[in-house]
Homo-oligomer: 308 residues x 2
Amino acid sequence: MGKLLIVGTIAIDEIETPFGKTGKILGGAATFIGLAASQFDVETAIVSIVGDDLPESYLEILRGKDIDLTGTEIVKGGKTFYWKGKYHNDLNSRDTLITDLNTLADFDPKVPDHFKDADVVMLGNLHPSIQLSVINQMEVRPKLIVLDTMNFWMDNTLDELKEVIKHIDVITINDEEARQLTEEYSLVKAAAAIQEMGPKYVVIKKGEHGALLFHDEKVFFAPALPLEEVFDPTGAGDTFAGGFSGYLAATDNMSFKNLKNAVIHGSNLASFCVERFGTERMKTLKREEVNKRLFEFKALTQFDIELR
Amino acid sequence: MGKLLIVGTIAIDEIETPFGKTGKILGGAATFIGLAASQFDVETAIVSIVGDDLPESYLEILRGKDIDLTGTEIVKGGKTFYWKGKYHNDLNSRDTLITDLNTLADFDPKVPDHFKDADVVMLGNLHPSIQLSVINQMEVRPKLIVLDTMNFWMDNTLDELKEVIKHIDVITINDEEARQLTEEYSLVKAAAAIQEMGPKYVVIKKGEHGALLFHDEKVFFAPALPLEEVFDPTGAGDTFAGGFSGYLAATDNMSFKNLKNAVIHGSNLASFCVERFGTERMKTLKREEVNKRLFEFKALTQFDIELR
């Protein structure tokens, strides 16, 4: 059983979609990553920070999935990172209504000693200096370091982002962010430019249009499963990252061939995440359901080529 | 060898992209469909109309691919359908600068007697009444009738469009058009609604994001090959349709399994079309190049699922 170290936010979210509104619910990148990774046989820990306003029951959801929270600091009298957002009718775009960093503003991650030898490190979307600090705390170079980021850090902390990118193996990024980071419109050219910056593997997420995995001259494409209805896209990208990194930690095989499987597993889990608000679907997701849908993924793209 | 009947425009195009401008060049839906279909062992005819201003050398390009033009009327003193368009920087959207219907305004298609038993009929994007007239001229019900259309006909001739849709087997349509036709945002729901209207198969084209094939509860996805550069998207959708229908006519197998292969062949040929202006790439495309890229398509999506 491999070890997976996750660094990212545990948050309180409030979400509005065309289908309804939530009250305050459990959210955050590390939460979705951890829940997805828990589908695999892997020892998982989350390094994060929350306030003591976070309901104990939320932490119990994560502990119930055997996720180690010894590296998650609970600040007495502090408030948990809070995000409120509203999705537009097409669910492809959203407005952030409120972002309160709260305790996250002072996040100084501490990797627990017993995870300083993790096989895979999954750096959720955070300030690049925090991501770099985690890498520097590792005692053994992890077999794979995966980094997620977003346009906010390109706009505000580009130098720090480029520094941490030098030290990672896989970056996950969406198509517009890949273009922004490289000033290349073609995703093929953008992925090549990002590989020049450090990561051997580039995953470009295209939401409902699937994800591309680039490595050297090779490219692999995983579609998103066409769904009758997307209910709430919150956490889909993090769920993808959690499935991707969790599968790789569990299988302990960092070959391109296995990274392709990891992309499929990540896409598969993300297709569940969007079916309910927040973490609802992921909390109770069964392995049988996951395996059944994997076969749908296979049927979706597999064909017998016939040359003429 | 199967017989393929194509109905559609043969046009004079002028195109401007960020990479340059063409003068007047050969274009039109039937042209691109025919050139793509000529990659397969199939007897092909085009029913169309042009003016005698169309350079004889343009018709020779089609005849040189063994395409029967006896059903293409050349109007003495008439002018050929003319389209001028300019693509935006991202090449995903374009402005039509000029559309002169010319002889197309009076197009009354006449299917040649020796193609009234065609195995596959490919109805290019035209007024739905013209498309219906072609179906009505067939002496034997074709094994497969494929129809391409666009939002213009939904805006202006919706009743006629719905009538012809009742009589076809496959519709090819883009994602926005599928949504417009059905008032369903989810493509899964839209495809189901279109199947209720008549066609057993629905192909939803998503441009650079690939194409989906729906049939009953089944769905198949073909990605677009990630390209370093898209040079000119003109004709890509028609090339897809030509590859799709040409492959099916040549293989004489209208099963869902073979339609999946046809979608891959169509996507493969479209990936060449966009590499040069107009028909330039398709005119000289060699079977070896086509087969080589088919293997790239296979590598792009094939994986070995591993259940846990």
